[in-house]
Subunit: 382 residues, 2 copies
Amino acid sequence: MPTLPGESVGTVEKQYHTFARPPQPLVLESGARLGPVTVAYETYGRLNAAGDNAILVAHAFSGDSHAAGRYPGETEAEKPGWWDFMIGPGKGLDTNRYWVICANILGSCMGTTGPGSANPATGRPYGLEFPMMTIGDMVNTQKMLLDHLGVSRLQAVVGGSVGGMQVLEWSLRYPEMVRAAIPIASTMRHSALAIAFNEIARQAIMADPNWRQGNYYDGDKPAMGLAVARMVGHVTYLSDQAMRRKFGRRLQNKEKFSFGFAGDFQVESYLRHQGSKFVQRFDANSVLYITKAADYFDAVDRLGGMSPPPSGSQARMKYLVVSYSSDWLYPTYQAKELVQTLKRSGQDVSFCEIEADCGHDAFLIPDPRLTNLLRGFLDGLG
Amino acid sequence: MPTLPGESVGTVEKQYHTFARPPQPLVLESGARLGPVTVAYETYGRLNAAGDNAILVAHAFSGDSHAAGRYPGETEAEKPGWWDFMIGPGKGLDTNRYWVICANILGSCMGTTGPGSANPATGRPYGLEFPMMTIGDMVNTQKMLLDHLGVSRLQAVVGGSVGGMQVLEWSLRYPEMVRAAIPIASTMRHSALAIAFNEIARQAIMADPNWRQGNYYDGDKPAMGLAVARMVGHVTYLSDQAMRRKFGRRLQNKEKFSFGFAGDFQVESYLRHQGSKFVQRFDANSVLYITKAADYFDAVDRLGGMSPPPSGSQARMKYLVVSYSSDWLYPTYQAKELVQTLKRSGQDVSFCEIEADCGHDAFLIPDPRLTNLLRGFLDGLG
């Protein structure tokens, strides 16, 4: 792992904000109503008096609000937040300057309301009674949280993968509020290939008899189906090259084939391990809802139809689009299409493809190039 | 579909040969014993008196011996054999000149002995008592069939994907018998990525409670798991570009999202359909055994250590390696590694990468370029 500058944000705490209580529920893009809504979030650094030094970090599909630091009582041996190498004093998102906030997305299972939350109408978990929601709905809940916290302006919204979709949605819904929009390893809309892999993950979950149409919260979880779903997802986050480097054809047990189905190759054990780990921490129904929101997301027409910002305006929104050369889930050609679309609608957009062989998940791996890119871009905003 | 030359082979018949009856069972590469072994096969054209105009076609993972023509009673409305556009009078594999034979591989479920066949020791289907077998074992059964049919020489062995592995294995085991070895869209060994997708398919099957450790032949089949396995496989046979062209983001029901999990996009319905179709025709345990044989296959050292054929020999074995530019399961770089390995061991090898956007399965799609390539190469053998 490369040495990256900066210090840890130290001990952090997960916080919660509940809103949209009936009879004023949140109206979702589908027209469905949902309330109350709780959003789990974490913050790092300090919001300044003007309320204009905030950076919103939007997490990916299976991420959570724990982007940096460690919870009370955790030691150095425990993993810090998922973007700990990026967020902290002196880091790419410098908490000496910025107040960084990360909120768990709607539909997830990490503290924010989702299909595993109690349905106030029944007192039992929603399951499939949870309304279908969109990337726009996720952004809406983030906006309501920021309103509550007194944040009037975002110096940046930054996120990778499904987080990048939220970034684009922010730039469309609240352009006057966003100084910089930074989608990383993301896309304006899913290709048929991306939809296909999401659908396979959903089918794997729904094929598990324990799934029981989503009503499994008082019994056995659809663990086998969820594990298979995760294995599929996990492979799409890697790359051929990274897998060759990491596993190749190495065997678990030296040089002997088992001539059985227990799994001979290290890559098999690794995938099974990823599957089991995911089952421990994630809710199968949340996978269904979030993958569907990602599949529905299509910002092409809206991004192409944006108004150009007033010319000469110092504060106009700037985009920084980042892609990875070995990302085959949201390949660079899709990032370039995004850049072209933004340019055609007169937006101020910078673009960088980072050469890296580790696939879609590259943004989750410490890399001074991304750190320097974000720091430099933020510095340049003035 | 492009117009390709040639006529149909007409009506064909599936034939069977049974051998390795106990007490002389087949000894497999693992050391396990298997017998009796039945091989289903079809032939097109006529074997000449010298017995030297035979071409063996090796089918892919889920293929069968029905490579061309139609069965008695089938009309033009029914699909002919899987390589019908390639095999017939005046076609790429010209049955006016050659006698083409295709045999169902060991471990399959299309007439050749596999895990769904009756275990003579119990009278019930083998299930997981079927011994693990290898690509070498498949080739062995093909050799025994050809011996039985009086074929002393193969003008060519040709096959795509797992069929290409059999081609390489033939060239290693019986180089004196093979005039031309033509692996198409294949590899010397699976990458970690290919193993990963196979393992996901296996896990999907074994996660289905109906799988019951492979003992499902007298009850419900592991249909859900097998369908998911097929969806995973199917996506790896396509390409991003082909899927964009074929499906894009088109919806099943015009312009409306369902906001449910029934499947909105055409690519979802297509995959589900592929999954269901496969369940009708294929055995889940056969998927386990054949994918494992493909994962085990590793011909790198053996191909690199081959003896160069006697120089000046007119009849020395020639290789023609064919890859497709959009094949990401067995990409062109792997075909090039194969070519380099063969060249280093002094083999006579030609190579062609066909530019096509339809992914790994391109060899199953009528294309005059492959037809002309095979015809020209066979003509050049003299």
